[in-house]
């Protein structure tokens, strides 16, 4: 039993680590995208000429929206993973039901 708990614990730790890495990676990408979008917006505000304005209002908006969605998606992924791990912890055994039957 102690072995299986340990096995489940290791699995959960790995899952948590993987999710954490993914979330951080996505958050970093969201930051990069948002910085590019902010660059376009800033450029259009300083030099209010056709090309900067067009870039800001098309690519800038698109990248900004994508970055926010990416960040919110990564947070949702993290919350979901945490919820799953918490729910597994609340079960009588940390093993999945298929292994419990064995």
């Amino acid at each position: 039993m102690s072995e299986s708990t340990s096995e489940g614990g290791v699995t959960r730790a790995k899952v948590a680590e993987h999710v954490s890495e993914t979330v951080e990676k996505r958050a970093r990408w969201a930051c990069y995208l948002s910085l590019v979008a902010l660059g376009f917006i800033g450029w259009s505000l300083i030099s209010q000429k056709p090309l900067p304005v067009i870039f800001a209002m098309t690519i800038g908006q698109l990248l900004g929206t994508l970055s926010l969605l990416l960040f919110l998606g990564s947070i949702a992924l993290d919350v979901r993973a945490r919820y799953k791990i918490k729910r597994t912890d609340l079960m009588p055994s940390s093993l999945p039901p298929s292994k419990q039957k064995d």
Binding site: S20, C31, L35, I41, G42, L45, I54, M57
Partner: protein, 240 residues
């Protein structure tokens, strides 16, 4: 802090007397577009600081970091984008903005010319909307007129970059659809006790668009530019 962008209101009006003297440059102006610009830039800068802090310091992604990141990726850039959009849309109405594309320079030169007898030049002398005369006369008259007009402008820009506009004999810029008389009649009433006989005669044509207010023979041509001197064969051969 003051930006003298080429599209600022003073520049567009060509009013040298309203400009701040050289020793007074650097003060904040409180006109609407500049305030929006300033607000948008402050939001963008604050957002960039938060994002760069996260990327450089790499703090653990705990609750407070997430809240900061959310501020840097959500409300602050959205505020910057919204204020920037409004400011940019205001600027795109200015005549100087239209003239910043070199294919439009003959048109903006014509409207700036006080001697020009063209319809556009006459309208550009109007003190209420003269500095936005391109937009005022070419905007679609409707609820989404601004957006529709700007999408049309994007179409022109796309055509400009995908077509060989620098080729000799290339056609001048043209409207994609016939000029809508409603743009004239939104200000000029076409009926009344002093209505000219020509208007009464062509009333149906004016309303249906078959007779254009700005056509030669009526009140046009609207622009006195070199396009009228372009050899017709070359115009016909060009892609529309």
């Amino acid at each position: 802090m003051l930006w003298h962008s080429p599209c600022s209101a003073d520049h567009a009006r060509g009013e040298v007397r309203r400009r701040a003297p050289s020793h007074a440059r650097g003060i904040v102006t409180f006109d609407f577009p500049h305030l929006l610009n300033l607000g948008a830039l402050i939001c963008a800068a604050a957002s960039a600081v938060v994002l760069l802090w996260y990327l450089i310091r790499r703090p653990p992604l705990n609750r407070s970091t997430r809240v900061w990141l959310f501020a840097g990726l959500g409300p602050l850039p959205i505020a910057a984008a919204m204020a920037g959009n409004v400011s940019n849309l205001e600027v795109t109405k200015k005549r100087e903005f239209c003239g910043s594309c070199h294919v439009m320079v003959p048109y903006t030169d014509d409207v700036k010319n006080p001697e020009s007898p063209g319809l556009a030049a006459k309208h550009s002398k109007n003190k209420w909307f003269g500095d936005e005369s391109c937009y005022t006369c070419h905007a679609d008259y409707g609820m989404f007129g601004l957006v529709v007009t700007k999408i049309g402008g994007m179409h022109h820009v796309w055509d400009y970059y995908t077509d060989d506009w620098d080729a000799p004999g290339h056609r001048p810029p043209k409207l994609y659809k016939p000029y809508n008389n409603a743009s004239c009649t939104q200000c000029h009433a076409s009926s009344g006790p002093r209505e000219p006989l020509e208007h009464k005669v062509h009333k149906a044509g004016i309303e249906s668009g078959a007779v254009g207010c700005g056509k030669v023979g009526c009140h046009g041509p609207p622009h006195r530019v070199r396009e009228h001197a372009v050899v017709p064969e070359k115009v016909e051969g060009a892609k529309l």
